[in-house]
């Protein structure tokens, strides 16, 4: 079966800031508007990788209004993930903001993917980790690997897609007809 090969674009958040430290709702909204304009100019990109490299500090208000709100607005259509988080403190700030915003986000670290924001159930987290590890799965593949009912896995994958944690694509199945493939945001 052919892979879907989503198009990803990388954004270095520092390029949108005046300084290596950034804070506050007002600044977050201003940066989100700039990010939105850049994303709109690349309609082919379904995955938006936001790198925090070069940033020293952000507070929760900035995190909420900038990238988390952007991810919330794009969810279901395009996926946002975060890379290069410089410190545990910043990760904690983004996690606190994501919990409040109700927008989970995949963060890629040197130790692998982490999830910030509202915590899913253990089963859903196992399923998400499988998608992140394999890059893409169908419902049937995931159900087989995890030993779960197809209906159960289908519902969870649909929810992960709605929440912006995986992408869902229609592809032609080898047996004819259409099937959903769920893609990692990475």
């Amino acid at each position: 079966m052919a892979s879907v090969n989503p198009v990803a674009m990388s954004i270095r958040l520092r390029d949108f800031l005046d300084a290596e430290d950034v804070w506050g709702s007002r600044e977050g909204i201003a940066v989100r508007e700039k990010l939105s304009r850049v994303v709109e100019t690349h309609p082919e990109a379904t995955i938006i990788r936001v790198s925090l490299a070069g940033i020293r500090r952000t507070d929760t208000s900035f995190a909420r209004e900038s990238v988390l709100e952007l991810a919330h607005q794009l969810r279901g259509r395009r996926g946002v993930c975060v890379t290069d988080v410089p410190s545990q403190d910043m990760l904690d700030n983004w996690d606190a903001a994501a919990v409040k915003r109700g927008q989970a986000l995949v963060v890629w670290t040197t130790k692998g993917p982490q999830l910030i924001g509202p915590k899913p159930s253990d089963d859903t987290w196992e399923l998400l980790k499988l998608v992140l590890k394999r890059g893409e799965v169908t419902t049937a593949e995931a159900a087989k690997v995890l030993g779960k009912q197809v209906n159960n896995v289908s519902t969870r994958l649909k929810r992960l897609s709605d929440e912006g944690l995986v992408l869902r694509k229609d592809v032609n199945a080898s047996t004819g007809g259409l099937e959903y493939r769920y893609l990692a945001i990475c």
Partner: protein, 304 residues
């Protein structure tokens, strides 16, 4: 008639300043058209009391009262200290200072020269100083030996200042200037952070949003509501917001800090204990206090 506030001798922190205001409703609600604050020669005003006095004097002037600050003619140490931290720079022009206003601002002259002190930073509603949290964090970190504790305190200081200063700009709804200040106490190896505004106060800002966003909290008293704001995060904008106060509480717990919140007629003192912020033992919750507009938050924590 003049409403007199005689500040005590010795160290004057926020709580002793409050006691000096007396048991009445306070100068803002008094019938007297003039208010005089008297600072004794040996009265050492700490930064949290300093910004509270500054805010109150400006509030009194704003509502049309004649305000006078009296300092001792002979011993000018307190006067000089307040000049050094920029107290008089933040004082509204109509407020009378005796014997006289300083002829120059020592804060402007020596800005940045003292690593243990950051001058009182004005939080003007019309202009946002984006560099302030970083400056305050770096001033604090310069006073601490390298190590994990320094990294922890640096990150916490940035977050505390950015969240609290951000709240002043976004929520205080006041035309009056707010203030932020940091003092490192070398002997005690401790630091004090204070952020004050002259707005409606945290709870008064939150309450109108409770029926819409947090109906279960409508009946809570000031102490419980304030505790809820720090433990779980609350915002007048609803459930997607309010992470900032919770993060401040998280940092207070990590630092083992004491936290004092002074609202228009209430105050609450919280201590970090067993992984949570708790009300301190004894009479640490005060209600029906003399009116001071705004939210005045003070963090105390050790540097070692």
């Amino acid at each position: 008639m003049v409403y007199r506030v005689d500040l005590p001798s010795g160290w004057i922190a926020g709580t002793r300043f409050e006691l000096a205001l007396g048991q009445r409703a306070g100068p803002l609600r008094s019938e007297e058209s003039a208010v005089c604050f008297s600072v004794p020669a040996d009265g050492a005003v700490m930064v949290d009391a300093g910004v509270r006095l500054l805010s109150l004097a400006n509030q009194l002037d704003h509502i049309g009262k004649r305000v006078t600050l009296e300092f001792c003619h002979e011993d000018t140490s307190t006067y000089d200290y307040l000049n050094r931290i920029g107290f008089f720079d933040g004082l509204r022009p109509n407020v009378v200072v005796r014997p006289e206003r300083p002829s120059y601002s020592a804060a402007s002259r020596y800005q940045g020269a003292n690593s243990r002190l950051v001058e009182i930073a004005p939080l003007c509603p019309s202009s946002l100083d984006m560099s302030l949290p970083t400056r305050l964090e770096k001033a604090l970190v310069r006073s601490i030996r390298p190590g994990a504790r320094r990294d922890l305190i640096g990150a916490a200081a940035f977050d505390l200042f950015s969240e609290l200063v951000g709240n002043v700009y976004e929520h205080s709804s006041s035309q009056l200037t707010g203030f932020a200040v940091l003092q490192v106490y070398k002997n005690g190896n401790s630091a004090r952070i204070a952020v004050s505004d002259s707005g409606d106060g945290l709870l008064e800002t939150l309450r109108p949003s409770l029926p819409t966003y947090y109906p279960r909290l409508v009946g809570l008293g000031p102490t419980q509501l304030l505790m809820h704001a720090f433990r779980d995060g609350l915002s007048r904008h609803g459930k997607g917001h309010g992470a900032g106060l919770k993060r401040c509480a998280d940092h207070a717990i990590k630092l083992g800090a004491n936290l004092e919140v002074r609202l228009p007629v209430n105050s609450l003192r919280l201590i970090a204990k067993r992984g949570a912020l708790r009300t301190a033992d004894g009479a640490q919750v005060h209600q029906n206090m003399p009116l001071i507009w705004g939210t005045h938050i003070v963090f105390d924590f050790r540097l070692d």
